[in-house]
Amino acid sequence: MLKCRTAWNKLAPLARSSSTVCRRNVRGTGLTNGRTPICVPATHMSSGAGGGGGGGGWDNTIYAVLVGAACVGGMTLTYKTLKEDQRRYEERIAEIASRPHRQEALTSSEPAELEVVPSSEADPTAPEVEVEAEVAPEVEVEAAVAPEVEAVVAPEVEAELIAAPATEAVSPSESTELPPDEPVVEAPPEEAAAAPPVDPPVVEEAESKPSSATFPSHVPYLLIGGGTASFAAARSIRARDPNAKVLIVTEEPDLPYMRPPLSKELWFSDDSSVTETLRFKQWNGKERSIYFQPPSFYIKAEELGSSENGGVAVLTGRKVVHMDVRGNKIKMDDGSEISYDKCLIATGGIPRNLQVIERAGEEVMKRTTLFRKIEDFKALDKVSRNVKSITIIGGGFLGSELACALGRKSSEFGLEVVQMFPEKGNMGKVLPEYLSNWTTERVKREGVKIISEALVKSVSFIDDELEITLKDGRVVKTDHIVSAVGLEPNVDLAKSAGLEVDSDFGGYRVNAELQARSNIWVAGDAACFYDIRLGRRRVEHHDHAVVSGRLAGENMTGTSKPYWHQSMFWSDLGPDVGYEAIGIVDSSLPTVGVFAKATAKDTPKAAAEQSGTGIRSESETEDTATSPVASTSPATVVEHKDDYGKGVIFYLRDKVVVGIVLWNVFNRMPVARKIIKDGEEHADLNEVAKLFNIHED
């Protein structure tokens, strides 16, 4: 401001002097028709410089020059900043892409890296050089993308980032042309190995591809995604359509497996090789693998076309990048296409992360786990044995289960387990406050340090430790973070397929029969569907994936059944606290809870032992096919200090029961399901609670 005034003050005498020059010139030229008075500066005020500017040519010029210089300077600065950001972004992409491949030592990796360094350093120096250099790395990164993606499977997040710049997959031939043009080789060492010799890349890529090199170009049933919903659909299709040929395409390197044990049973296993075998012992002693079926269940993709009895084939490590709804075909990341008659999208989702962690830099990100897949389980198991302190951010199902699982290991490993979340207690968004507080006490007893009402402000890496600063000033020091803050549904194909995405719940919007368009269905975590009883919703639970997968599979074979059989979910927080739930279980709804005192038999352990099953949702079905094994444990009454031993909690919306939690009360799910299905207004919920016989086993 002061600078402006001094500038104006300097200009004012200039204006005055220039205006006198102007006057003289005017007189000289003989323009004496009364215009002269206008040239006289009316005042000597600082603003007069502006008034005098009408007559003075000089200060106009200076003014124009100054303004012009300022503009040019500003634009140059902006341009430089943007280019810098773009360069940094691309470097980061390339760096992320190169991460999974760093383990594979290639001979040419070193020279490639050396070349990369001078190129990136050269960039910031001059804007002009930058322009050209930017174009080159961009093209290179794109080229790098294609062969990279064809090679060993990249983790989901990376794959998504990579897919973005190269949506229409770049074919191998193109990629080999470009790098020889550019002397500077891009960051991912694999590409350096692949690029210079033209022939080997094709061979190398073929070798590093998953075993099935050929697959049919057309399948009657195509399932995108290889999780629970997809497998349930495959089974349903095969059951209804004899000799059906089903192809599952999945990004992950694993065959379909179930997720709940990854945060529960696998952690309680005594077997030290559990991370390899992925087998867990259920409470009743029966052992099983998390894989739904062993590899012999599936047939090879190449054989799918010729097999007369059909079968289920799985293509692992392939990402579907484009969907052509009109042509009924999909395109994968390696450029190959498969056409289908019926297609299911069961792409699930990817874990969300806190923005503060993403912005906190690489050292923090390296020490953060987003837990979802088998590889995350293996990594976290390893980490838990090697660090002193783990902090779990998130107080929902996943966060609380992991906290309890790690808490039990805490004494064994000498591990400090901290759990922090913004709510007042564990499962704060699911259970009513009194129950949430009770649950939190239980979790604490499992050896977990709970920090409630915690909002993370920033995370930094200082002195070989992670420092989490909360908004209220508290600081938590830890070695590793597990971020369990929700799931982002994977709707990558929505754009190319032209499918609707729901703005309230996320996920693909489908109707009550799980159909998005003719021949396209969506099931599992990614489906936002219309529930005839409870309205539009999206559910992220295991049983829902099974139920919706089965339903979608059925509808793909010709039936038109809506979502009717209500799915359930369950959670165990240690051996003493367990519950099953069904419907809309949201703690913001008014609730009515009916409780009794618990005995020793009312624990998840006892329930599983009695029904002879391991996973809770199985116990429902097993009832129909078997006779339950009689319980041999005597009914001793155990006094609990707390009030909420076992009971039933009803969640109401407009006086209608829309959700039920069975608290330490098991094998009653059919009754709960019936009550929700009826959708009636009940005057006295205590009477309804009687239907559950909560005092009995």
């Binding site: 629970t228 495959a234 089974r235 349903s236 095969r238 059951a239 209804r240 004899p242 000799n243 029966k286 052992e287 099983r288 739904f292 079926q293 062993p294 012999s296 269940f297 009895n309 079968g311 009513p432 009194y434 049983d543 099974v546 139920v547 089965r550 059944k561 009717w564 059989h565 359930m568 008014p590 609730t591 009515v592 809870g593 009916v594 409780f595 009794a596 949702s617 199985e618 429902e620 079905t621 097993e622 009832d623 129909t624 096919a625 078997t626 059919p670 399901r673 019936k674 009550i675 009826d678 009636e680 205590n686 009477e687 309804v688 609670a689 009687k690 239907l691 016989n693 909560i694 005092h695």
Partner: protein, 144 residues
């Protein structure tokens, strides 16, 4: 004696065993056995077999699915005095097929007897344990 308390919008009721002894007067709507939306049990209302029944596990959908379906259909519709006596060939085919996949079909007799219990109660589908558990996917009756 039961008592009740209110915590904000949440109501909590504690009940003793005696409180719940009297039968409930809550009204539930009668189920329609022919409801097309409901999940059916093993046998459909028209007498057909529901191959998608969770109780069958993966039997009808695995590599030996078609042999299993033939054998079990034959058995189901058999009107012989000794039910299924004419179905021996189908069962043999099925057994031969299953022997090729010992991982999937651990060799015990229960497998062939499949689900004897015909139930029509609604049930959720688990995705299950045909594979690696030593038991049958159908948890067949331990009898045989």
């Amino acid at each position: 004696m039961s008592y009740c308390r209110q915590e904000g919008k949440d109501r909590i009721i504690f009940v003793t065993k005696e409180d719940h002894e009297a039968p409930s007067n809550a009204e539930l709507i009668a189920d329609d056995p022919n409801d097309p939306y409901e999940e059916q049990g093993l046998i459909l209302p028209n007498g057909d077999i529901n191959w998608n029944c969770p109780c069958l596990g993966g039997m009808a959908s695995g590599p030996c699915g078609s042999q299993f379906k033939e054998a079990f259909s034959c058995f189901h519709y058999s009107k012989e005095e000794v039910k299924g006596s004419e179905c021996i060939d189908h069962f043999r085919n099925m057994q031969e097929c299953m022997q090729k996949f010992p991982e999937l079909y651990p060799q015990e007799d229960e497998k062939e007897n499949a689900p004897q219990k015909e139930s029509d109660s609604a049930s959720t589908a688990p995705l299950d344990n045909a594979a690696s558990s030593p038991d049958t996917p159908t948890e067949g009756p331990e009898a045989s």
